[in-house]
Symmetry: C2
Subunit: 252 residues, 2 copies
Amino acid sequence: MRQLPKEKLIYLGDTRRCPYGPRSEEEVRRFTWQMVNHLLEHNIKMLIVACNTATAYTLEELQENLSIPVIGVIQPGARAAIKVSQNKRIGVIGTEGTIDSNAYPHVLKSIDQTIRVNALACPLLVPMVENGLLEGEAAEDIVARTLAPLKAMNHIDTLILGCTHYPLIKNLIQNEMGSHIQVISSGEETAREASLILAYHGSLESGGGHSVHEFYTTGDVDKFRTVANSWFDEPVLVLKLAELEHVKSSAY
Amino acid sequence: MRQLPKEKLIYLGDTRRCPYGPRSEEEVRRFTWQMVNHLLEHNIKMLIVACNTATAYTLEELQENLSIPVIGVIQPGARAAIKVSQNKRIGVIGTEGTIDSNAYPHVLKSIDQTIRVNALACPLLVPMVENGLLEGEAAEDIVARTLAPLKAMNHIDTLILGCTHYPLIKNLIQNEMGSHIQVISSGEETAREASLILAYHGSLESGGGHSVHEFYTTGDVDKFRTVANSWFDEPVLVLKLAELEHVKSSAY
């Protein structure tokens, strides 16, 4: 919204089935395609897979099968890390799924095979953020224990936040790792790459203003609206994705 | 070379006719097309116009007329600035040509029309860098005098180095502006966008190593080689672009 203020966003959060991190590849792929098919009904001109786990498992097949540009959150973070890292030792933290998929090392090394990657699965951080534990001693303690293995090695100069939840605790992570570590937030980097790809296709919105953004959730609308209103300056439209009701039930 | 280590670079520096900054639009366009036509003979897969003035005057017509991706240095710097600016007040420094062309405000406002741009032509900085005046009191003094009008306004939070010479004095500029100002270096940002566009086209080099980079200059080869060798870890191939001899003579 900040980097592309003229564009209309149609956001679909699979809140009900979140997190994807611990799920199997088959399940993540099936859920992601369900989400994508709903978004395609809105005549979107670009698709952003704003979840690292879903990107790791589905980006390539989405790019092969859709006629619109598809961007994930892994490549932008990887490119930003390569831009800033001086010693070519890059850390990545993410969910078990993202780390197990090996997606970040794969992308980083496909660009520069001499880069050394230290990847660390952080299963506690998503539940911590989901429960609103964003500051204070308990939060600092969890972050410190989680990052200890990465910190002990003491040689990365750049750390990629490889999960869309982590920017909410970026300060905690930065403090724990130290100010000499450059912390990369995939979300900001992805918005920038979306901006370039839209410009490259000549499909940046040129009009004066956007239509109202639409936020869909598969979960609790009121809870979602409360969070959305606390984040955004103006009220946003939050809608229930009712069509997924039966899918959700069967998935549990 | 750092962000895309597998790619082979063919660099052509119009050293003999540099700087382009104070030249007329017609002259910059003519010179740029001469350079581009030479590069096209090398069967390049992507063209980067690594000069702000040339980008300002020729990017659109190059993109329209060439079948390969063409990237300039203005859009990457603009997008990076939008990514980091919090107060939407962005400063740009560049040559007279770049600033007069209004290219940065145009690109910035095409993405977000509420952005306010303070553009300042800095005619002294290129000659200063060209003469190797990169540090010391005299250099600090020139930078301070040059940036005074921008500093006096005291409200930008991001400054784009809108000339490829300025990153060589980035520290001087950062010190003068203060640590609260984010200084954007177009070169690094352009390399990153080149990386994305190559990946997007599936034309990133996948092999183990690159061929030897080739650097061509229209000016003095020995001088160029001395600078190149002082910058790069390994010796690079520096060649004279002899074919431009007659063009150069007639241009002076």
